[in-house]
Amino acid sequence: MTSQIAKRIMGILMLALTILLTSCSGVTPSLHVLEKPKNVDMIVKMNHGDFWNTVKMGAEVAAKEYNVNLTFKAPPNENDIDEQIRLVDESIHNNADAIILSASDYMKLAQVTDRAAYYKIPVISMDSEVASARIKTFVGTNNYEAGQKAAERLIKLTGTESRIGVMNFVKGAKNADEREEGFMDYVARYPGVEVVDIEYCESDEQLARKLTRKMMTEHPDLNGIVALNEVASIGTAEEIQELGYGEKVKIITFDSPAKVMELLQEGIVQGTVIQNPFNNGYLAVQLAVQVMEGIEVPDRVDTYSKLIDLDNMLWPENQKLLFPFVK
């Protein structure tokens, strides 16, 4: 009898002890912050340019916030697809915990993406999609919508009876195709608006200039040009200015490099569609963390585009988008 009571007392005391011991340790972490840092590789299209630097800045902010070791990698040029494939393979080899990929080519990056998925590395697609069903989610600008925004403003400027040229960048890159599609779909509403030429500059400024010159020679009566990315915008707008078509040929550009902003102030460029690269980078890392933590994520996360013109370029909320870096 006494021994049983003694045993019971012992049991209770032991229990109390364990509770005391355990209560001293272990604080439940907030849902999103990783307890142990994880390695996330972000592979983008190009290792220079304000756009990608801003993506990187956003990604770094998120990495800091969620305890992620971020590795930022990119080929030297946007059309260097093989190098990008190699970089993804390298990340697979290094056993990254997650890969964020901005695919330079919709089709060609598909195989390596599937390979990453095979090795149980979650892939988050950012900025431009890749033809793989194995990606966890896509975060980026709604490019179709952005294309429509550009078309809307350009037609407003040129009128419903006009001839328009398109300066696209890489054929086959999903975002390029989507912007073009959005643009063309919107233009199709106006039977009087004719798209006379679509060129691909391969994100090469010189090529963009050359193609613009060619476009202007072939179609001197052109009313407007849309340039669908940063490099294409600079090349096209500068060439138009040089050729002396400034203000006569309305230009809607994409993104906000300083040169484009200058040309906007000069009146050469009438408007530019800007994305939110900072948010793209930030959200991509945030989504990667959620995927790694097993939290469900939506299939698509759109970040919205904005059309900037002379009137709204100095609004405080736009200034930070246009000039993400304090120089």
């Binding site: 002890l17 907030s30 305890n67 909320e317 200034q319 120089k327």
Partner: protein, 599 residues
């Protein structure tokens, strides 16, 4: 069935456990462990609380100091800018003509001395450029008059305005983030005093870097808002504009200086606010306590391991100490067990605590006594058996029988018929009492009867060489006595005391009760003995001739049966006679003897 069996299996260790729970070792181990652990846990709990509190306070203090320092640097920086503005203004005031190249040169030099000074510009209230340093081409579409620095300068002409950081779009070249200082000033244009707006643009980079470098833990950060609540600096400015992040500015406006805990974002955040005095900007430090107070985590781990190690150590120590204490006891127990099994010969060898040693010493002593007593008992039993055998022998003493029969023959030859009858009758009675159905204990009356018959026989045999008298007090008659104790003494008296006398001897037997003792005195007036002979008698050196049962045997038997307080004593004087005194306990009958427990 299976269930039953299982139950049994479970119960078995329980029984063992309960047995062990009661052992000294278990009790000591458990109580010692429990006590120590309780104390350690209580103390570490208290210390832990104290430590965490201090650590928390220190962490918060640290954050406050960091923000304070940033604030201090910003104030210094802003004051420096104000000073520069005043220098520029003074130089413009002191110059009679605004277009003078000397002024331009002076201002250009000033601009060069300060790296973070971007540009100086003077504009008419209508927005026309009067003076710009460095001399750069103006951009088109500057929307100059709509910019905040221009508007606020006109709104408050006397006050130096600090704008929120913005993009400077006035001059060709880089788009730079600047903070604009502006005020309406007076200048002289070819002698004519005019009013204009003086703009000094300061690169925002210094402030940006200063704020960026603020490190409040891994995730913590600092941001700056101006007096209107516009964000001057925020590491996640884009996220806030995009609505992905939310900064609760309401309480920030209420405080100019202080700290509070904010939970509006779902997470606990520690907010510290300081105001940059001259421009009314507010620096807000945001820290995450669960991350800042890493000491708590470290401490948690430390306390956990500490307690674990202490507990383990205490358990080991407790087991050790309890073993040290209980081991000698257990050894003692084992030794006692072997004694219980009958081994009395090996003494216990137990070292250890004083008490245990003492206990084992006592035990050994006891063991020694037991052994002694056992040996004594064995010895006594042996002696008893031997004397009993002697008595048995004496019961049918052939020598005595032979002597008596001889004397009967002699009497027969002489035709002494009566004497023959008396002798034979006495002999018969003598032997009957001698045998007395195998009993050892008989009444004194019977014993006296026995010795009387013996005396009758001997008297006839020795031809009336002695006379005798047997007296007994009434209360002594019923007393019990060992049989055949008187006969050897009387025999001794006859053979050693009277036989060699020339005169007729006299033997007197007198029994009485005195002081709870039965005393029987056998006196003769024979030759008497020397002291040496007397001593020899009891040791057994001398054996009386006749019956063979010695005086020594009588003494020993009495002592064996009744103890050392009883027995024989002698008084003797040469030529005077001998008195033998037998002392026995007073025992009334057989039943009483058994009550005393002596078999």
């Amino acid at each position: 069935m299976k269930i039953h069996r299982k139950r049994k299996i479970i119960q078995l260790p329980r029984i063992r456990m309960s047995f062990k729970l009661r052992s000294i070792q278990t009790i000591i181990t458990f109580s010692f462990t429990l006590m120590t652990i309780l104390v350690v846990v209580a103390v570490s709990f208290m210390l832990y609380n104290k430590f965490t509190k201090t650590a928390e306070e220190n962490a918060y203090l640290n954050i406050q100091q960091i923000i304070e320092q940033v604030n201090y640097h910003l104030e210094l920086y802003v004051k420096g800018m104000q000073d520069i503005y005043e220098v520029v203004e003074e130089q413009i005031n002191n110059t009679p003509d605004i277009s003078s190249p000397v002024l331009r040169e002076q201002l250009t030099t000033l601009l060069h001395t300060r790296e973070d000074l971007v540009s100086v510009g003077l504009f008419t209230p209508k927005g026309k450029l009067v003076l710009d340093i460095p001399n750069l081409e103006m951009r088109r579409n500057t929307l100059l008059k709509e910019q905040s620095w221009f508007e606020s300068a006109l709104d408050q002409p006397q006050k130096l305005s600090f704008s929120a950081p913005h993009i400077q779009n006035l001059y060709k070249g880089q788009y730079k983030w600047v903070v604009s200082l502006s005020r309406v000033i007076k200048y002289k244009d070819q002698g004519v005093t005019k009013e204009g707006i003086l703009l000094v643009d300061v690169n925002f980079r210094t402030i940006d870097e200063l704020s960026r470098k603020v490190s409040l833990g891994k995730r913590g950060y600092a941001y700056i808002i101006d007096d209107l609540g516009n964000i001057v600096y925020h590491p996640q400015q884009q996220l806030i504009y995009a609505g992905l992040k939310y900064e609760n500015l309401e309480p920030v406006f209420e405080y100019a200086y202080g700290s509070y805990t904010d939970k509006s974002t779902g997470e606990t955040r520690y907010i510290t606010i300081r105001t940059v005095e001259p421009i009314n900007w507010k620096i807000v430090g945001v820290a995450y306590p669960d991350e800042i107070i890493t000491t708590q985590k470290d401490l948690n781990q430390f306390v956990f391991w500490f307690l674990l190690v202490v507990c383990a150590a205490v358990v080991v120590l407790a087991v050790f100490v309890s073993m040290k204490i209980s081991q000698p006891l257990r050894r003692l127990e084992k030794s006692v067990q072997s004694v219980g099994q009958g081994d009395f010969s090996t003494p216990i060898q137990v070292s250890g605590a004083y008490e245990v040693v003492q206990l084992s010493k006592r035990f050994n002593f006891m063991l020694h006594r037991i052994r002694q007593l056992m040996e004594q008992i064995i010895h006594e039993q042996e002696a008893k058996r031997k004397s009993e055998l002697d008595v048995l022998q004496s019961q049918i003493n052939p020598h005595f029988l032979y002597n008596t029969l001889n004397s009967v023959i002699r009497l027969a030859e002489k035709g002494k018929k009566e004497e023959i009858v008396a002798t034979i009758t006495s002999l018969s009675k003598f032997f009957r009492i001698s045998l007395s159905k195998g009993k050892n204990i008989i009444t004194l009356e019977e014993e006296l009867e026995h010795v009387r018959h013996y005396l009758i026989i001997q008297k006839i045999r020795f031809k009336n060489k002695f006379s005798y008298v047997i007296e007994c007090e009434e209360d002594a008659l019923a007393c019990m006595t060992l049989k055949l104790i008187l006969q050897p003494i009387v025999e001794n008296a006859i053979y050693h005391g009277i036989e060699k006398m020339s005169d007729e001897g006299f033997i007197r037997i007198y029994a009485f009760v005195q002081e709870e003792r039965l005393v029987i005195k056998i006196s003769d007036d024979g030759l008497g003995m020397t002291r040496q002979v007397m001593d020899q008698l009891l040791v057994g050196g001398i054996r009386s001739g006749g019956s063979g049962v010695g005086v020594k045997n009588v003494n020993e038997r009495i002592r064996l049966y009744y103890g050392k307080n009883y027995g024989l004593s002698f008084e003797s004087e040469l030529e005077e006679g001998t008195t033998v005194t037998i002392t026995l306990p007073v025992e009334k009958n057989e039943a009483e003897r058994q009550e005393r427990g002596i078999s």
